[in-house]
């Protein structure tokens, strides 16, 4: 992303010149106080929001023509799994991505199998999406994105609201996945555990972009931007 600006229709200027580059294979955490612009930034990555500035994903610029390609390369998992599980059954939800990519039927079935195995939820195909528990829903939501086999995974607050067991399962899952990752979160222990690089965003601009260890050691900086080194738990 280069010099990204974005203002919401209600006049709020959410991004005021964001520059960042993420290399393939990197796992990066995005932290910052609420309202800093994390979700806005994420929505630019797969072309849902269209701000001023340049964005390139996997070498492609994000334009109207290649939105399909971009969305197949960047898998975004939103915060509320209920928003993402919009089909009657789990199978249909996980199959949605590959189906819209135009894949053949057998390939779609295969992708669904692989995605569910990857999140440890095979056997859930026939289940009704909204009958699942919170943790299960989050994992299925990740599966719905994994089935597209994206190169980049973007997650918005994946551990929010999870009980310790589900949280641990999710962290282990994220640890295993090979994709390039950008994770927006308030869960500092998870950041310390999984991510070498952290980007701190505040008030629409990037306040710091560097090694997680360095940032978490700088208490003054953390306090300035509404963060704490230890989590609320």
């Amino acid at each position: 992303m280069e010099n990204l600006h974005y203002s919401y229709p209600d006049g709020k200027e959410a991004l005021k010149g964001v520059d960042l580059i993420i290399q393939p294979g990197e796992k990066v955490a995005l932290v910052g106080p609420n309202g800093a612009g994390k979700s806005t930034l994420i929505l630019h990555l797969n072309g849902i929001l269209d701000g001023d500035g340049e964005i390139r994903v996997c070498g492609m610029p994000v334009t109207k023509e290649n939105l399909g390609q971009v969305r197949a390369s960047v898998g975004v998992v939103f915060q509320d799994p209920d928003d993402q599980l919009f089909s009657p059954t789990v199978f249909e939800d996980v199959a949605f991505g590959p189906l819209y990519m135009g894949m053949a039927e057998e390939d779609v079935y295969q992708r669904v199998d692989e995605a569910l195995i990857a999140v440890g939820m095979s056997g859930y195909e026939k289940r009704i999406s909204h009958h699942l528990s919170g943790g299960e829903k989050k994992q299925i939501a990740i599966a719905t994105v994994l089935s597209m086999e994206p190169e980049i995974l973007v997650l918005d607050e994946p551990t929010a609201g999870l009980d310790p067991r589900s949280r641990r399962r999710l962290i282990n899952l994220l640890n295993q996945l090979p994709q390039t990752m950008l994770v927006s979160t308030h869960d500092i222990p998870m950041v310390a555990e999984l991510f070498q690089r952290t980007i701190v965003i505040d008030g629409g601009i990037i306040a710091r972009d560097g090694s997680t260890q360095g940032i978490l050691a700088d208490n003054e900086f953390l306090e300035q931007h509404g963060l704490e080194a230890a989590s609320p738990w």
């Binding site: 189906l99 819209y100 009704i128």
Partner: protein, 261 residues
Amino acid sequence: MHYDLSDQYIPRSSVVHQLDPRVKVVATLAYIFSVGITPEGVWWAFCVQFAYLLIVILIADINFLYTIRRSFIIVPFVLAALAVPFTTPGLEWIRIPGLEWTITQEGLIRLGSILLRAWLAVQAAILLSATTPVPDMFWALSALRFPKSLVATIRFMYRYLFVLADEASRMLRARAARSPRIKGVTRPSMIWQGKVAGSMVGSLFLRSIERSERIYDAMLSRGYDGQMRSLIRFEMRNSDWIFIFSAGLCLGLVQVFAYLG
């Protein structure tokens, strides 16, 4: 707290369950239509049509009281029909003392017909949802060339109606937690309570709109391009053709004799 519209489906391996969902949807619509155009007062026609329904229920291996029990849901809807005996002109039968309202025989016949039609129609719909899983029903609707936006609207209503209900009940719970009843203190006026209820409805509406935008974003993120695609596919088999033709025949015969008689 998890109610679900898909609880209506009763899994069985009967012939009826295995019919093409398009055939079942068309048959149900034809049945409802046929019951609707049966002339009033032709009681035998209604009985025969009811018998058809029971036969299908039997073949579908479902408890034959099932649809009858669930059909009482229409009671509030037919309350409007109670005005009919009073407003239909004809031979006077009973007069309500003091009110000068009369009930006519024609009116009662018409009321009876309306009630029977509604009752049979709703049972047919209940039978359809008991023998057809909801995703198959949606596929059938779009395969039958129902308008796409209509089918999409119904799909999402099915999925999110109870999410909305949960949100509404949370709002009600929050309001109850802030509504103490203290002895000696007067309760707020009806008007004020009405205003509060009104803004709760407005708030729920706004939340629904925002949620729908988030859902749309999620769909876009997974490649949605405006078309509804599905892996469900059914082919018409002989049993499907036989069923639909015999259903058409039976219903048609009833109508012919009802009008001739």
